[in-house]
């Protein structure tokens, strides 16, 4: 399989992630969309790394992306918990106050 096939999969996954963020009215779906987009970026990193001489840099970048995704998921879930507690809803459009 060439580089183009992997880039195509990554582009489609990225597009679906964007659709997931903008069409669903639920913060959990926004989180899922973000994870899809990060995964699409990772496929690109690793694919370009593989097809450009197989050095280490792309893989190291992908590892750091995974680390940051884990941190992001934990913080985002904390925020969602708090938002649900404050607004009793996790629709993104209901969250319209910075503080009460």
């Amino acid at each position: 399989m060439g580089l183009g096939a992997f880039i195509a999969v990554s582009a489609i996954l990225f597009g679906i992630g964007i659709v997931c963020i903008i069409t669903r009215r639920n913060m959990i779906y926004v989180l899922m969309g973000i994870e899809m987009i990060l995964n699409a970026a990772n496929i690109n990193f690793v694919a370009f790394n593989r097809f450009n001489g197989d050095a280490m840099d792309g893989r190291m970048f992908a590892i750091f992306v995974i680390i940051l995704a884990a941190a992001e998921a934990a913080v985002a879930l904390g925020i969602v918990l708090n938002v649900y507690h404050l607004f009793e809803s996790i629709k993104p459009s209901d969250v319209d106050l910075m503080r009460d």
Binding site: M1, L3, G4, A5, F6, A8, V9, A11, I12, L13, G15, I16, G17, V19, C20, T23, R24, R25, N26, I28, Y29, L31, M32, E35, M36, N39, N42, I43, V46, A47, N49, R50, F51, N52, G53, D54, M56, R59, M60, A62, I63, F64, I66, I67, L68, A69, A70, A71, E72, A73, A74, V75, L77, G78, I79, V80, L81, Y84, H85, I90
Partner: protein
């Protein structure tokens, strides 16, 4: 199962078979593996956008993450594939499933027209950009592919190499610590909440 649902899953099966057939015809056995993992990745994400129930969406995300891990394997990044399964399938998905418990069932949340329009428009945009890119850009790929090598020890050395990634590695450690402590701090119930009359009456 209504008609839209049936049509969606039929299309999904046809697309999967098409990917598998295309892979088999273009690159043989490794092509079939690529088609399988690509179908798992894209199909899982499509089901995630499509499904009404958050639980089904979260579990279909597991297919996406596993498919991406398989693609990493095909690209010779075996450590990344295992890390992907450990962290995404084992960790982040569990977090998301925990968040699902907050989400009250809301059968009207997904608007069929909105999701369909989104998918069609976005696929059109991706196809347009892909056509532009493939007709104008030539990637600077190295000619013949080197054999993929297992480099787990080299990854560990590169993490602690002063000429490598030691600064980024230590920063990532600090960020993880700060993020996890902050997440616990944000998510905890405050003492004043426990005396909230609403909480006493409700829960």
């Amino acid at each position: 199962m209504d008609n839209a649902q049936r049509a969606f899953y039929t299309l999904l099966a046809i697309g999967t078979l098409g990917l598998l057939g295309w892979g088999a015809s273009s690159a043989g056995a490794s092509g079939v593996a690529f088609g399988f993992f690509a179908a798992l990745t894209i199909g899982g994400s499509l089901v995630c956008v499509w499904e009404r129930s958050v639980v089904r969406s979260a579990f279909s995300l597991m297919a996406t993450f596993s498919g991406v891990a398989g693609l990493f394997l095909l690209l010779g990044a075996d450590f990344l594939a295992v890390a992907q399964i450990l962290i995404y399938v084992g960790g982040i998905l569990a977090l998301i499933l925990f968040g699902v418990m907050l989400s009250p069932p809301d059968p009207t949340e997904r608007k069929l027209s909105r999701v369909l329009t989104g998918i069609v428009l976005m696929m059109g945009a991706v196809a347009w950009v892909g056509a532009k890119v493939s007709s104008t850009v030539t990637w600077a790929t190295s000619g013949e592919l080197p054999e993929p090598t297992t480099k787990v020890d080299e990854i560990g050395i590169a993490f602690l190499d002063p000429d490598g990634y030691v600064v980024a590695f230590e920063l990532a450690a600090m960020i993880l610590t700060a993020a996890l402590v902050a997440a616990v701090y944000i998510a905890r119930r405050k003492a004043s909440d426990l005396n909230d009359p609403r909480a006493e009456g409700g829960a």
